[in-house]
């Protein structure tokens, strides 16, 4: 009941988060990776300690590849450039190799009965990974991502409207769908905003994996919403007409919020482990999932169902 009663507070809280996220996206934009804009990414590591970032930047600058050099892990650099040709790539690698002289070690060897010293030199720079994506492919990936997000939202909303088709009093089933849209948009706008901020200050990138996380957030965060809606559906059947809609919604939230939190908690546990232990390649992915699923749990309890009550109130006013 508490939540339904004080719903304006929660609306304002969510509103601030969403508005902040949208402003962050408008002001700073998202830092899109080569997945979407095309380009090349070269990952190199220096086994004997890396040269300083300034050295690398000034060494690479004459090649005119509009390169950005970002340190990663303890002895690696990620170098992002325009889409490289084979020649450009080779000259970039040779420039980087030249930065750190090959390490030499001497060891005694026996030749016949005399001992000689052999010098073994091994290059200290190695290429860990190279990825280049043409601009056409990038544009296609970006477009596909947008289409996929929109399709998932539409599909889920249509599904909810269909699944709750038998519920028409006092709020028609398509309104459950609309509330679900608001929930879903809320849940993906917040991670988008957080990544706009992280992208601006820490260079976090938005790639195809990030879009995947948004889709998973959409698919998962609707679970909690469905659980509450399902309970409202059931309670409407069990106690029809006898109680005001707002009370039924309030009761339904009270009855289900423990399970909403627990289902999200187990998933958040898994994601937190993945974030801290799972390795660098999926760290940002799990971070955006954590943000989105937390937002989704909050929204299903404090935003979605109270919104149904608000819609019902408006509907009543309209009739009078």
């Amino acid at each position: 009941m508490f939540i339904v009663k004080y719903r304006p507070i929660f609306y304002i809280f969510s509103g601030i988060l969403v508005a902040g996220s949208i402003i962050a996206m408008l002001v700073w934009g998202l830092n899109s990776s080569i997945d979407f804009k095309g380009g090349s990414l070269l990952e190199v590591s220096y086994t004997n300690g890396r040269p300083s970032q300034d050295v690398v930047v000034s060494a690479v600058a004459p090649l005119n590849l509009s390169a950005s050099v970002i340190p990663s892990a303890s002895n690696e650099y990620d170098i992002r450039t325009i889409t490289l040709t084979d020649d450009q790539k080779n000259s970039l690698i040779s420039v980087l190799t030249a930065l750190e002289p090959a390490s030499t070690s001497t060891m005694p060897i026996m030749i016949g009965s005399t001992t000689a010293t052999a010098t073994i030199s091994s290059p200290s720079m190695q290429v860990d990974g190279f990825n280049t994506i043409g601009p056409v492919l990038g544009a296609e990936a970006a477009w596909k991502s947008i289409v996929a997000v929109v399709l998932v939202i539409l599909a889920i909303v249509l599904f909810i409207a269909w699944a709750f088709r038998k519920v028409s009093e006092p709020v028609s089933s398509w309104k459950y769908g609309i509330v679900a849209i608001i929930d879903l948009v809320h849940n993906i706008v917040i991670p988008l905003g957080v990544f706009a901020v992280l992208g601006h200050f820490y260079g976090y990138e938005v790639d195809t994996l990030f879009v995947t996380s948004l889709l998973v957030i959409l698919g998962f965060s609707v679970h909690d919403t469905i659980v509450v809606f399902d309970r409202i559906r059931e309670n409407l059947r069990v106690m029809p007409g006898s109680k005001p809609f707002s009370e039924i919604v309030g009761t339904s939230i009270n009855q289900t919020f423990v399970r909403s939190i627990n289902t999200s908690l187990t998933t958040l546990f898994a994601l937190a482990v993945l974030y801290f232990v799972g390795g660098a390649s999926t760290q940002h992915f799990s971070l955006s999932l954590i943000i989105g699923i937390a937002a989704g749990t909050y929204a299903s309890i404090c935003l979605g169902s109270p919104l149904l009550v608000t819609l019902e109130k408006w509907q009543k006013k309209g009739k009078k």
Partner: protein
């Protein structure tokens, strides 16, 4: 009884996953195993529209052969038609994955050359001498290649190959039509070497070794052999298009060093184990006996999933492993919904058995609806994924939802009924309720 069965089967499946690691290892994606991925776009503008798909599969076969010569274990070569919505132009793509290959330049030059079709002459006496030695297949081939004589006839002199059938036996025949230069050379070749072999090589590998039966002067030749209809069709396609280059250009390329992948796999395994332990601890502390059963069901879930990854097989990528760990967290959701509902029914004063029944039947609609929305998401993700990494994730995600429907509902239901106390005592109530007192 059934509950016991499920445990035994799950344990057997788990043992299979563990013990078959050598014979049937998990299929690791390039980002984990290390290797090279190249995406090409094929220029089919000069090929008639109805022959595009044929020439694309010929291109795939050709490149597969080149890649095999390159000595890569389990390469993947596939074609794909891609287009941006709303634009009329579709692109024909060729995706080449070379696990373990990190020298991208060498790989590119091996793939990039246009296919070469050549005819060689092999003296039957040489051929018989070689086969009489009973060498292994590789050595035999090396010896045959050394004995072959260049004829100067290449695919560029072939004007057409077609499928025909032997009028008497009905066996498939491949008929060849040379252009004038080719016909002249072929006539010379066949006139002087009746009884010898006119070997057809594609990209340096022997395609067919027909014996010359008679002099062929009109530029028409037939290859008869004991091949099946499909093999004959393939041969015709290779002869027609193998010699016809479909120009390809690189769209994207990716190389991943092997060290990076190994670290990711280890991190993935470790986080999977930790996630399982954390979730198990949470379930047991919060839901007690049912929670413990859910953990058993979750263990079954893990085993079944891993077995399915091996059987299908699903190519595991870093994102796929993340998806699996995520799915461990999601798989117990149905259990949580059921147990919470059970608890509620117990509070209403129902008996344990009734509460268990009600818990399952009342929680079902929301489990069904929420899993349906997950599957919808997974399918859209699968069909709109722009990279194989995302496709791998989507597949793992969908499999996870489906398997969890079985383990979290069917399996844990049997478990729960198997152990549910018939009598109601303080202990049994304590075990079935949870620590959250109202």
């Amino acid at each position: 009884m059934i509950a016991f069965f499920i445990i035994v089967i799950a344990a057997a499946v788990g043992y299979f996953v563990y013990s078959s690691q050598k014979s049937v290892p998990f299929k690791l994606g390039l980002d984990l195993a290390g290797g090279t991925e190249l995406v090409y776009t094929a220029d089919v503008s000069k090929i008639p529209a109805d022959e595009v798909s044929d020439s694309m599969s010929a291109l795939r076969d050709t490149i597969e052969r080149r890649v095999n010569i390159f000595g890569v274990s389990e390469p993947l070569v596939e074609t794909e038609t891609a287009g941006i919505f709303g634009s009329a132009s579709t692109q024909n793509r060729l995706i080449v994955e070379l696990p373990g290959v990190t020298d991208i330049d060498a790989a590119k030059s091996a793939i990039g050359a246009t296919p070469v079709l050549e005819f060689y002459l092999i003296k039957t006496s040489d051929y018989n001498a070689i086969t009489a030695k009973n060498l292994n297949a590789t050595d035999t081939q090396t010896a045959i290649d050394a004995a072959r004589i260049t004829t100067g006839i290449t695919g560029s002199m072939l004007s057409k190959a077609a499928l025909a059938f032997d009028p008497t036996t009905g066996a498939p025949i491949v008929s060849l039509q040379f252009n004038s230069t080719g016909a002249q050379k072929f006539a010379d070749l066949t006139k002087n070497n009746i009884g010898d072999i006119a070997a057809i090589y594609l990209d340096g590998a022997p395609l067919e070794m027909p014996t010359i039966r008679e002099a062929i002067t009109n530029g028409q030749a037939q290859i008869t052999g004991s091949f099946t209809l499909d093999q004959a069709k393939d041969l015709v396609r290779n002869l027609n298009y193998g010699a016809l280059p479909v120009p390809i250009t690189v769209l994207s390329e990716q190389t991943i060093g092997p060290t990076l992948g190994a670290a990711t796999v280890n991190a993935g395994i470790l986080s999977g184990i930790i996630a399982f332990i954390v979730i198990a601890a949470f379930l047991i502390l919060w839901y007690r006996l049912p929670g413990f059963l859910a953990v058993v069901a979750l263990a079954a879930y893990t085993c079944l999933n891993l077995a399915i990854y091996k059987i299908i097989p699903v190519t595991l990528t870093a994102a796929g492993i993340a998806g699996f760990i995520l799915s461990i967290g999601m798989a117990v959701d149905a259990n949580i919904l059921i147990f919470e509902r059970m608890k509620e029914e117990l509070r209403k004063g129902r008996s344990i058995m009734d509460a268990v029944h009600e818990g399952f039947s009342r929680a079902w609609p929301s489990i069904r609806d929420s899993n349906t929305s997950s599957i919808i998401t997974g399918l859209i993700l699968y069909y709109f994924s722009s990279t194989s990494v995302i496709k791998g994730f989507a597949l793992v995600f969908i499999i996870g939802v489906l398997v969890s429907m079985f383990t979290a509902i069917t399996a844990s239901r049997f478990f729960l009924f198997a152990v549910s106390p018939k009598k109601q005592g303080r202990l049994s109530l304590f075990l079935m309720k949870n620590g959250f007192t109202h």
